[in-house]
Symmetry: C2
Amino acid sequence: MEDVSKRINAAYGKIPCDLLLKGGTIINVFTGALEQVTIAVKDGRIVGYGDRKAKTVVDVSGKHLCPGLIDVHLHLESTLLAPSEITRLLLPRGTTTIVADPHEIANVSGFDGIQWMLEATEKQPLNYFFWLPSCVPATHLETSGAILTSDDLATLINHPRIVGMGEMMNVPGVVNGDRESLAKIHLADDHGKIIDGHAPQVSGSMLDAYLAAGISADHECTSLSEAREKLAKGMRILIREGSAARNLQDLLPLINDNNWQRISFVLDDRHVDDLCESGGLDNMIRTAIHYGIDPVRAISLASFTSAQRMGWRNRGHLGIGAIADIVVLEDIEAFRVSDVWKTGVQVVANGNITCDMPGMPAFSNTMNVLPFTLERFQIPDKGQPVKVIGLQSGQIITKSLVMRPRVRHELLVPDPVQDIAKIAVVERHKATGNIGLGFVRGMGLRKAAVACSIAHDSHNIIVAGMDDVSMFTAVQTIIDAGGGIAVCDGEIVESLLPLPIAGLMSDQPFEQVLAKLKELKEALGKLGANPDILMTISFLALPVIPELKLTDKGIVDVNQFFHVPLESEDKHA
Amino acid sequence: MEDVSKRINAAYGKIPCDLLLKGGTIINVFTGALEQVTIAVKDGRIVGYGDRKAKTVVDVSGKHLCPGLIDVHLHLESTLLAPSEITRLLLPRGTTTIVADPHEIANVSGFDGIQWMLEATEKQPLNYFFWLPSCVPATHLETSGAILTSDDLATLINHPRIVGMGEMMNVPGVVNGDRESLAKIHLADDHGKIIDGHAPQVSGSMLDAYLAAGISADHECTSLSEAREKLAKGMRILIREGSAARNLQDLLPLINDNNWQRISFVLDDRHVDDLCESGGLDNMIRTAIHYGIDPVRAISLASFTSAQRMGWRNRGHLGIGAIADIVVLEDIEAFRVSDVWKTGVQVVANGNITCDMPGMPAFSNTMNVLPFTLERFQIPDKGQPVKVIGLQSGQIITKSLVMRPRVRHELLVPDPVQDIAKIAVVERHKATGNIGLGFVRGMGLRKAAVACSIAHDSHNIIVAGMDDVSMFTAVQTIIDAGGGIAVCDGEIVESLLPLPIAGLMSDQPFEQVLAKLKELKEALGKLGANPDILMTISFLALPVIPELKLTDKGIVDVNQFFHVPLESEDKHA
């Protein structure tokens, strides 16, 4: 009660405000206009327009004031960075609120992973909220680090920074009334929380069934017709511009005067290099303006409409009563940020963070691998051709090929001539000793091996290489680092990016992560491989994307959704 | 859990839907377009677009389907009707959800009044929600039937049909940090509920202070400039078209492509005759269309944006997952309703209600008047001029006049020549015996008296007349009827509309109320009075509207906000 009365008194001029931002032009998302307004702030809220007594007066003449940007669908883990580093990167670019889905860390560490995220973000000068990850594990075809049932999630649903149920990726589960899927939907609904969607190319009666379950937004639209159907049926459309999936340009024509309030911008999965080079939501705003969207509307789509998606009345705008998340722009069309106030406190000045940055809490080592020897990577030749995962340039969909690798000493071995590498998935959560083995075509490796503890969605260790010694070295290097990405040649570690937080994220500054990534890519380049295979490899264990994948339990025919033998029934390669 | 799975199954075509509305054109508030869509309904929700198996198939070819209309600011009591009759009137006109502020009944009966409203509306085929009345009593200058403190209101705040704190009329209280006003604001805020505003002509730093308190909508704008300031600062604008205050035409130019989602239509106070003759929200939609607003947008402003105001995701549109409140229109521009489905059940067919209508619960007699005699109406002459309430044509604002009524037997008496009637306010809640006395100019009465138990905001019995016998008869007639409006001439009751529910509402069908009102107006007409004084008189005891008013405690100088003697210091009339 004390708080609101102070704000009222400050608004009414009875006591001084904390801050006056004087002489700027505000982006008014309510009117769609640019308006010259002096903003008064007290106790972290905007309390008035126009001159007032204030402890601090800042002249922002000639600048634009914009509401703090809001991303309602982001996977922090995809950046490879700890939350504090995401803050360091995105706060100076104008993002003040993020709703993250801790799907990856939860698949590794379950409840503890979510708790760590909550703890790590609690005192950040950027507000982090979380969706409860709805698909842990993603499938039964692999060994995950954790299982989170609706009962497990129920213990977190009332947390003030848990906003609802994260993207319901199990579309068949939802529309076929799978018990656990519905229990998760009810959990959110019963607690007045919302449910995020994920329904790529779902349409017609299947989409209707998905919506009838109460799912209210989708970020997976890739075409205008898909987005139009979903929007007309009542979904909010989150236009995504991730590092891999880029939909902004295709979907911009969707936006018009009648529907713009139903549309928001989100990043989903964006990598550290992309964030450093292009930016985050600021980059989406610039692109939208470049393609002809009115600047006020472009900014509204990354702030106001996102707040509306979440049901937040006091974020995403600069109205009176709003949380004082204010971004000062040097240039509105270029969305060039000079200063940021978060809850009324200056946190960025001239592009640099000026507030204290809390450190990250400790994270236990997640590498729990049953010791094994080199020989476990051997694949005996049965005289038959085998199924080979065929990479497709720039895609995470693979082809199921039938080929015959080289044979040496009655073993099937990689073949640089056919561009066939060996691939293994080493289980790392439960010390099961599981190692799935197979072959992949199209990596371009001439020698050596690359290994990675990011391997969607269970994040076992995946390794691809041209010889068993390099593969073994790479896997052991990652185990020793507590997770990471390594390129090894024989017993030599050519390059290593340690990712000790759940094997997914670095504990180092983003500049260092960026430099290490560059080094890894250079090492791969020297070995003849396309550096993009770093991302490709992390999807080779994801058994929900067609056609052929490998998990710690072996080869998966995704279209049939079960494990198949490595050897092909087809006798001829 | 069973519910949602049935809906999903029906959506997916695994089991039949309950209802298929086939071949109609829907008003799509998400796209702003008219779209030919067959709607499938299961368990009260819209579950799909397009043909499906269904138990009932209704051909609505050539008709438009529109979301049920929503009024977020209505005083039920102003209609003089019980909620069941409001349902009978408004449901066939397309309104399916009302958020009412039981301010009047609460001022008479406090907590019991609100409880009665909740009970009376619980099983209606129209959804009634309620604001908690924030100003009971409205002032200390009169004897009200009840006092509702923030602690009293706290016992109701978690009721599922209580949406938040009703219009905060005490603007000075809010902006000056009055303890009780702030406690009410905190009560709503702490429970995640919203706060309704009422801030006529408030602007500048006073408006800022009002908004800093967290108040989020206003229905009192009368000019474009007023509405523009409030909208730009973050308020939702509720355009009101009541019986007395009509703002629609003036405010229509406010609406544009950038702000329409921040604007809604509301009725506030609309009388039974107006509802019968012109309609409710349907009338506002027709008017808006007439003045050039696109029909889909006009309908959206009485449905979709209203639901957004309340934070309701599943009302106000025909998206999949929405509550199946569907209005079938014969003619979209004329907004002519033929049928209504409420939560998937047909409740109106060809303009007539087809569902069962639950009766109203009993309401205890609220007439608690200390017996008194005729002589209590006498006003001794002190040889001075007196303050006289000067009516202004068509307004509830009065002038403070100084006049000299006739003198007979050392008493001041009414004077038809000067058009001065005597006026009295008889306290009826606590049997205090209070009777306030004064004079009013401009009623046009040549003889007889009119009395009324609707007298804002405390609703004591107010009576104006040309002789004490008529006045006494009128007051006693109302007491005997348990409340009402009466015109009496001497000891003859010329006309009586009983209002036994809190002295505010009839327990009879609206047709009968309408007929009685007509009879009352005719009786007044015969006495030479303008029939509009029926409404005027009920505002003569409202001590928050300038300049001179009368309560049971005596004459009030509203500008000074305290009681003053009847006699004027000014010696010359």
